[in-house]
C-alpha cells in the first residue's frame, strides 16, 4: 500500500492503518498547502510598494472570517478524531484464541515461550491466518514490543502483563524490536518475527526440543511450592478454590471488585496484594521465591483450571 519496500504490511489491520495514515496525510497536506499558497501569494502581491489595492477591509470581515475558520477547523479535527477513535474501539476487542505466546523481556533480549512450551530467544514464530495473543512482561525495566509489519506496539512492563494480538497473513520473515529506551544495548533488542503457513509452523514446532507444556510445569510447581497444601479442595486452610478463578469478578476484602486476570493472579502470588472477601489474609507472598518464568507457568496452570471447568460444565 505504501511505497516503501521497507514497510511491508502483513495484516488487514496494518493495511487499514496505512489507509488512515494516507488519508490523514492528504488532509493535513491540503491544509498545509493552503497556508503555504496563501503566504506565497500574499508575499508577492502585497510586497512593499506593489500596485495591488490596499483598500480597507469591510467591517464584517474580521469577525466572520475568524469564526468561520475556527468552526471549520474544529469540525475537521473532531471528524478526524471520531474516525480514528472508531478504529481504536474496533481494534480493542481481543479475539478469542488459545494461541498464546508468552514474552519475557529483559535487558537486552526477548525470551519467548510458544504455546507448546518451546522456547526461543529474539525470535517469534507464528502461524499465518491464526489469531495470536502475546502475553508480555518484563524482568527489569520497561521495554516495548514493536512489530512494524503489523503496525502495532505495546510497552512491556515489570510487575504486570500487557497484551498484543494480531492475525498475520503473509508468510515471511520480518523484524520486531524494542522501542522503549531500556539501557546500554537497547538497540540490540531486535529479533526476527517469522510468519509461517500453518503447515510449516506445525512442522517447525514439532522439531523444537521437547519441553514441558507450560501448564504441566505449573502443576508441578503448584505442588512443590506448597500452594496445593492450602488451595487443594480438601485442605484444612480456608483458601479459595482456584478452579474457575481466571476471568471471574472477585469481590475484594475492602469492597469493590476486580477481574482475575494475569496481573491480579500474579500480584496475589508475589505480593499478596489483593485479599478476596471472606478469606483470612494468611497466604504468604512469594516475592523473591518464585521467579518470572515460574509465575508464567503457574499462571498457565491456574488458567488451565478454568478451561477445564468450562469444559466440564458444558
Amino acid at each position: 500500500m505504501i511505497g516503501f519496500s521497507d514497510v511491508p504490511e502483513i495484516s488487514q489491520y496494518a493495511s487499514a492503518i496505512d489507509v488512515k495514515f494516507i488519508v490523514l496525510t492528504a488532509l493535513t497536506g491540503a491544509m498545509g498547502i493552503l497556508v503555504f499558497v496563501l503566504v506565497i501569494v500574499f508575499s508577492i502581491r502585497y510586497r512593499r510598494g506593489s500596485p495591488a489595492s490596499r483598500a480597507p477591509l469591510p467591517r464584517w470581515m474580521q469577525r466572520d472570517v475568524e469564526i468561520g475558520w475556527t468552526v471549520a477547523t474544529l469540525f475537521t479535527f473532531l471528524f478526524v478524531f471520531w474516525w480514528m477513535a472508531g478504529a481504536q474501539l474496533s481494534a480493542l476487542a481481543q479475539p478469542k484464541t488459545n494461541f498464546e505466546i508468552h514474552i519475557e523481556a529483559k535487558q537486552w533480549m526477548w525470551k519467548v515461550e510458544q504455546p507448546n512450551g518451546a522456547r526461543e530467544i529474539n525470535a517469534i514464530h507464528v502461524p499465518a491466518n491464526t489469531d495470536v495473543r502475546l502475553i508480555m512482561t518484563s524482568d527489569d525495566v520497561i521495554h516495548s514490543l514493536f512489530l512494524p509489519a503489523l503496525r502495532i506496539k505495546r510497552d512491556v512492563l515489570p510487575g504486570r502483563y500487557t497484551y498484543l494480538w494480531f492475525k498475520a497473513q503473509r508468510p515471511g520473515t520480518y523484524n520486531f524490536m524494542c522501542t522503549q529506551f531500556c539501557g546500554t544495548d537497547h538497540a540490540r533488542m531486535i529479533g526476527h518475527f517469522v510468519v509461517m503457513t500453518p503447515e510449516d509452523y506445525a512442522r517447525w514446532s514439532m522439531a523444537q526440543p521437547e519441553t514441558d507444556d507450560l501448564a504441566r510445569e505449573g502443576a508441578r510447581l503448584f505442588v512443590s511450592f506448597g500452594c496445593s497444601g492450602c488451595h487443594a479442595p480438601g485442605s484444612r486452610v480456608h483458601a479459595p478454590d482456584l478452579h474457575g478463578l481466571y476471568g471471574r469478578q472477585i469481590p475484594l476484602d475492602g469492597g469493590g471488585f476486580v477481574t482475575a486476570d494475569e496481573t491480579y493472579i500474579r500480584d496475589c502470588i508475589l505480593l499478596n496484594k489483593h485479599i478476596p472477601a471472606g478469606y483470612p489474609p494468611v497466604m504468604p507472598h512469594f516475592q523473591g521465591v518464585v521467579n518470572e518464568e515460574q509465575v508464567t507457568s503457574l499462571l498457565a496452570y491456574i488458567r488451565s483450571l478454568s478451561a477445564e471447568q468450562q469444559g466440564a460444565s458444558r
Binding site: 474580521q62 481504536q88 527489569d140 514493536f146
Partner: protein, 558 residues
C-alpha cells in the same frame, strides 16, 4: 506609522548614557538587577548551552551515517543523546525566549522601568547557572544514559549513570523558571504604564503572561517528580519500583503532566515573537487580536489536560486513551487559528523581507508542518505505530527547533538594534535565515519517512534499509550547524562595527521602540502614557466603532 518612529538616528549621534555603558565592570554585570542586563546574561548563557547540546547531537548524527557502531560505544552514544536532550530542553528551550527576549522586553513593552522583583530576577539567573553548570558537569564527567525522559525503573534502579545528580541539577534550575514566571506575572499585573490596558498589550507580552502561568503551575510538578526519583535512587524509597509495590507508570503520568505543558512553555513565546515580527514587516495590524489572545490562553489551559497522549502504548486504559486523544485534537484548534491569523495578517500588507521576517516565515512553514503531524500522533491507532519512532522525533523538532529556534533567532535579529544599538549585516542575516530553513528541512523531513517505515528512536545501530534517510539527515544537520554558527559571527562583528541603529530602525510601533537604542538604564525618561492598542501600522479598516480604531501611539520619549 508615526512621524517620530520613522526618524533614523544619525550615525554619529553622541552616545548617551545607556544600560550598557553606564557601568562596565564585570562586577557590575554580575550584581546587576537591570532586567536588560539580566536578559543579556541569559542570552550569553543559553547560547553557550545551545552549542554544547548541538555538539553532542553532531556526534550522534555523525555516528548515524552508517548502520553500525563506528565512532562511539553504545554507552557513549546513549550518554550523548541524553546530554543533548537534557541540555536542549532545560537549559536552552525552556528558558530560551522568556529569559532573554522576555526579560529584556516585557518591562519595556508595558512601559515599566524594571520587572516587579529585580533581585529575584538576578537570583533566577544564578539558580539557572548553578543548576545548569552542575548538570553539565555531571553529564560530561559521569554521564547519564536515561534520555531526557528519566523513565523509571530504568532511572531509579538500573541506569549506571549519575541520574540522581542530574536530577538535582535540573531541580535547582526549575526554581529559576518559577522565579521568572512569578516575576512576569507580577510585572504584567502591577507595572503596566498608565493607559496600557490588558487588551492593548502586545501579543508578545500576552504570550509571556500565558507562559508564566504554565511555568508556575507545571514546574513544581517536575520538581516533585525529580525529588521522588532522587529519593528512590539515593535513599531506596520505593515509589516506582514494581518489585516493591511501586508503580513505574506513575512516573510517566507525573513526568508528562509537566513535560507536555513544557512543550507550550517552549512554543507560546515563539508565537508571541512572530506576531510582533509579522505585523512590523507586513505593516499590518495583527489579524484578529482578541482571538489571538484567547488562543494563547486556551492553549495554556487545555495544554495541561493532554499529557496522556504520550502514553497510548504504555498500558493506560482505553478510555483514558480516548479522552486524551480527544483533548489533543481540541488543543490543536487554537494553534491552527493562530496560523490562519498570521497568514491573514499578510493580506493587504506592505510586506518586506528583512532577516527577522524570513525567520518568522520559516517559523510559520516549519511550525505548520510540525503541528499538522501532531494530528497523526493524536490519533490513537496511528500513534500506536508511530510512537517512539523517528516520526515523533521529526514532529517535535519541527515544532521546537523549526518553530521555537526560528522564532528565537528572528526575535534576536529583530530586537538586536534595540539590545546593542547596532545593525547587523542584513544580507548575511538573510542568507543565514534561508540556510537554516533549508538545513532544517533536509535534516528532519527524512525522519518522518523513516519513522513511518519503523525506525525506532535512540538506536545507535539500525537496519541497513534506513541508512539513506540517516545520511540525508546528517548532511542536513551539517547545513544546519553552519546556519547556526553564522549569526554568532556576524552578530559578534556587528557589536563592534555595525552601523548605529537609531531608536527605531524598523519603524515599528510598540513602546520599546519609543526610547533610544540601547535604552537608558531606566528604560524611559519619564513614564509613557498609552492611548491606543498595539500594531497601529495603518489606518483602521473602518470608521469609529471598530475595536481597534484608536489614535496613534504616544511614545514617552520625545
Amino acid at each position: 506609522m508615526t512621524d517620530t518612529t520613522l526618524e533614523f538616528a544619525p550615525a554619529a549621534e553622541p552616545l548617551e548614557k545607556n544600560y550598557l555603558n553606564e557601568e562596565t565592570t564585570l562586577w557590575s554585570w554580575l550584581t546587576t538587577t537591570d532586567h536588560k542586563r539580566i536578559g543579556i546574561l541569559y542570552t550569553l548563557s543559553i547560547t553557550f548551552f545551545f552549542f554544547i547540546g548541538g555538539l553532542a547531537i553532531g556526534v550522534v548524527r555523525l555516528e548515524l551515517m552508517t548502520p553500525h557502531a563506528d565512532i562511539v560505544s553504545a554507552e557513549a552514544y546513549n550518554r550523548l543523546f541524553s546530554l543533548h536532550g537534557i541540555i536542549m530542553v532545560w537549559f536552552f528551550l525552556v528558558p530560551s525566549i522568556p529569559t532573554t527576549l522576555g526579560n529584556f522586553l516585557v518591562p519595556m513593552m508595558i512601559g515599566a522601568h524594571d520587572v516587579a522583583f529585580p533581585r529575584l530576577n538576578l537570583l533566577s539567573w544564578y539558580l539557572f547557572m548553578l543548576g545548569a553548570l552542575f548538570t553539565l558537569y555531571v553529564l560530561i564527567a559521569g554521564g547519564v544514559d536515561t534520555g531526557w525522559t528519566f523513565y523509571t525503573p530504568l532511572s531509579t534502579s538500573y541506569a549506571t549513570g549519575h541520574v540522581a545528580a542530574a536530577a538535582a541539577g535540573v531541580f535547582v534550575a526549575g526554581f529559576s523558571t518559577i522565579a521568572t514566571g512569578v516575576n512576569f506575572v507580577a510585572t504584567i499585573h502591577m507595572l503596566r504604564a498608565p493607559g496600557m490596558t490588558w487588551f492593548r498589550l502586545p501579543l508578545f507580552v500576552w504570550s509571556m503572561y500565558a507562559v508564566s502561568l504554565v511555568m508556575l503551575l507545571a514546574t513544581p510538578v517536575l520538581a516533585m517528580t525529580l525529588l521522588l526519583i532522587f529519593a528512590e535512587r539515593v535513599f531506596g524509597m520505593p515509589v516506582f519500583d514494581p518489585a516493591q509495590g511501586g508503580d513505574p507508570l506513575l512516573f510517566q503520568h507525573l513526568f508528562w503532566f509537566y513535560s507536555h505543558p513544557a512543550v507550550y512553555i517552549m512554543i507560546l513565546p515563539a508565537m508571541g515573537v512572530v506576531s510582533e515580527i509579522f505585523t512590523c514587516f507586513a505593516r499590518r495590524r495583527i489579524f484578529g487580536y482578541t482571538f489571538m489572545v484567547y488562543a494563547l490562553l486556551a492553549i495554556a489551559v487545555v495544554g495541561f489536560m493532554v499529557w496522556g497522549h504520550h502514553m497510548f502504548v504504555a498500558g493506560q486504559s482505553a478510555l483514558a486513551d480516548l479522552v486524551f486523544s480527544f483533548l489533543s485534537f481540541i488543543v490543536a484548534v487554537p494553534s491552527a487559528i493562530k496560523v490562519f491569523n498570521w497568514t491573514a495578517t499578510l493580506y493587504r500588507g506592505q510586506i518586506s523581507f528583512e532577516a527577522p521576517m524570513l525567520y518568522a516565515m520559516g517559523f510559520l512553514a516549519l511550525f505548520t508542518l510540525g503541528g499538522l503531524t501532531g494530528l497523526h500522533l493524536a490519533s490513537v491507532p496511528l500513534d500506536i505505530h508511530l510512537h517512539d519512532t523517528y516520526f515523533v522525533i521529526a514532529h517535535f523538532h519541527f515544532i521546537m527547533v523549526g518553530g521555537t529556534v526560528s522564532a528565537f533567532l528572528g526575535g534576536i535579529h529583530y530586537w538586536w538594534p534595540k539590545f546593542t544599538g547596532r545593525m547587523y549585516p542584513e544580507s548575511w542575516a538573510r542568507f543565514a535565515a534561508i540556510t537554516m530553513s533549508i538545513g532544517f528541512i533536509t535534516t528532519f523531513l527524512p525522519q518522518y519517512v523513516m519513522g513511518y517505515a519503523g525506525m525506532p528512536r535512540r538506536y545507535q545501530i539500525y537496519l541497513p534499509q534506513f541508512q539513506i534517510y540517516h545520511v540525508i539527515s546528517s548532511v542536513g544537520a551539517m547545513i544546519l550547524a553552519v546556519a547556526y554558527i553564522m549569526p554568532l559571527l556576524y552578530l559578534g562583528w556587528s557589536l563592534l562595527y555595525g552601523r548605529r541603529a537609531g531608536s527605531n530602525p524598523w519603524g515599528a510601533t510598540g513602546l520599546e521602540w519609543q526610547t533610544s537604542s540601547p535604552p537608558p538604564k531606566e528604560n524611559f525618561h519619564g513614564t509613557p502614557r498609552v492611548v491606543e492598542g498595539p500594531y497601529v501600522y495603518h489606518d483602521a479598516e473602518t470608521a469609529s466603532g471598530s475595536e481597534q480604531a484608536a489614535p496613534r501611539p504616544q511614545g514617552a520619549h520625545r
